[in-house]
Amino acid sequence: MTLDWIHFTPWTSLAGGVLIGLAAALFILLNGRVLGVSGILTGLVRAQRGDLGWRLAFVAGLLFAPTVWALFVRPLEARIEAGPALLVAAGLLVGWGSGYGSGCTSGHGVCGLSRLSPRGLAATLVFMGAGFATVFVVRHVLV
């Protein structure tokens, strides 16, 4: 293993992590809700009356973040290698998997680990492991 010193950003990643943790902290303490994005989206695709407003407000804030960032700092830069077919396949897997497993990186990862939840830890270990294995196969076996 060699470290990618060019892209390694320990301080901004730590600072961004603290902001993510603050958002999760405010959500549970002020509103009593776990900040899990796949769970929030689940309630939007299986809409129930009276349960949409808070989900839409959160998603609107999330969608607005790059505009604020562009206004005060710089335009968002995302390096996206995947083409259309791969994006569709990956999106379907992420959607189905997070629905079936009741959570994703935010709900199981950030909030689950913060709650010291055995389910959160198990889910995080499994999706991290699957992510490591997938990138290994795509980059070092198939190529």
Partner: protein, 144 residues
């Protein structure tokens, strides 16, 4: 008041994803590529988030209601079952394939990336599909 807080929390969360590098799929796959040139940054994201989250959830556990009113909706399930493992496995494969997970892709969507549009539509279709095929219907996923 509630709607404003939810909007601002979403905004803060999104800014955290941007500052940390989570909204850049190249950063995600750089972290997941252990045998290439490895970028350990995402471990620092998790460390920062959990350092704050630990205190917040410890405080939340001692409360019965949220500060702005309403019930404290903490998940109660503890069992590590087949659904959790298989779902997380499938999720992890998709995450590794494109470098997007649900939060960051919405940030990229807000920035206008066409790839994020394609991924988001497929992701919502996957979520809906899972709901239709589920034998036992859950009312919202409590853990997120």
């Amino acid at each position: 008041m509630h709607r404003l807080v939810e909007f601002l929390v979403g905004l803060l969360f999104g800014l955290g994803l941007i500052v940390s590098g989570m909204s850049d799929p190249g950063k995600i796959t750089g972290f997941l590529d252990l045998s290439g040139t490895w970028d350990p940054s995402l471990a620092f994201v998790m460390a920062g988030a959990i350092a704050v989250g630990l205190f917040a959830f410890a405080a939340a556990r001692r409360r019965t209601s949220a500060v702005l009113g309403g019930a404290m909706q903490l998940p109660t399930r503890r069992e590590i079952d087949r659904r959790l493992v298989i779902g997380s496995l499938v999720f992890g494969v998709g995450w590794g394939l494109a470098g997007f997970c649900p939060g960051p892709v919405l940030v990229a969507l807000g920035a206008g990336y066409w790839q994020a549009v394609v991924f988001t539509v497929a992701m919502l279709a996957g979520l809906a599909l899972q709901g239709w095929t589920a034998k036992t219907r859950q009312v919202g996923a409590v853990e997120g």
